[in-house]
């Protein structure tokens, strides 16, 4: 299509030495939360597809809605929805942490770890709270 070599062509052709990558580093809270924010974002994209399926079923009528609701209420469905809930809260809390960073606050190493553990603790607590209230209301 064009004469410009792609990035992969250049890499294969030259065999340049690569600097050490993630595989030799011990996982740290900072790096784990960084990649977790990206993974949960991709997972939540699938959750967004689920939202559209749920809305479309509701628009189609009681039978279609009942089928989708049945899948969501099954044990397998509940486990998946629990996972989506945790992914949502982790991405939400991690996203708020990023928005605070965007205001150039909280970059000291101590602050980074405090906010990091707050994201982990907050996500777990909010997930458990959401499901507790949900199950209590459902009776």
């Amino acid at each position: 299509m064009n004469s410009k070599p792609s990035i992969s062509d250049v890499t294969v052709a030259r065999r340049r030495p690569l600097s050490p990558n993630i595989q030799i580093y011990r996982p740290q809270l900072t790096s784990v939360l960084s990649i977790a924010n990206r993974i949960t974002g991709v997972v939540l994209s699938l959750g967004a597809v689920g939202l559209v399926i749920w809305l479309t079923a509701a628009a189609m009528g009681p039978r279609a809605y009942g089928a989708v609701h049945g899948v969501g209420s099954s044990w397998g469905g509940r486990i998946v929805l629990f996972g989506f809930t945790f992914a949502f809260f982790l991405h939400l809390c991690g996203g708020i942490r990023h928005l605070v960073w965007d205001t150039v606050h909280g970059f000291e190493l101590r602050s980074i770890y405090i906010s990091g553990w707050a994201v982990v603790g907050g996500s777990v607590a909010l997930t458990v709270a959401a499901w507790t209230v949900s199950l209590l209301l459902a009776g």
Partner: protein
């Protein structure tokens, strides 16, 4: 967000990096209340049947918030997945993947909005 001097001197990226970064933040800020509202509403209707969900979605606030949620959610999703593809897909599939994500998000947002409007205007 670029300073007038940087713009005038042509420094920095000549592409849409600033616009992308800014749109990701604006959609993120919008999604904080919208997603929390949605999750709270779903939990409140957890034991609710079809009629309860339809009655809820027919209220002006719920239908309006749902449409704004769909717009912000799929805009944010498209921007986020675009970065993931740009970072990890180096083959010729990159261009196809970027187009697929953009069109897929547009189609899903449209389908969600159409479904919401069908519920609002159903008898």
């Amino acid at each position: 967000m670029r300073s007038p001097l940087a713009r005038a001197e042509g420094l920095g990226s000549a592409k849409g990096g600033v616009k992308h970064w800014w749109a990701e933040r604006v959609s993120a800020v919008a999604l904080v209340p919208l997603t929390v509202w949605f999750l709270g509403s779903v939990i409140a209707h957890a034991g609710g049947d079809y009629d309860a969900v339809i009655t809820w979605l027919k209220t002006p606030l719920a239908s309006l918030a749902m449409i704004v949620l769909l717009l912000a959610l799929f805009h944010h999703t498209a921007l986020g997945l675009q970065v993931v593809i740009e970072d990890y897909v180096h083959s010729d599939a990159r261009f196809a993947a970027l187009i697929a994500v953009r069109l897929g998000c547009l189609a899903l947002a449209s389908a969600g909005i159409v479904a919401t409007l069908r519920i609002v205007f159903s008898p």
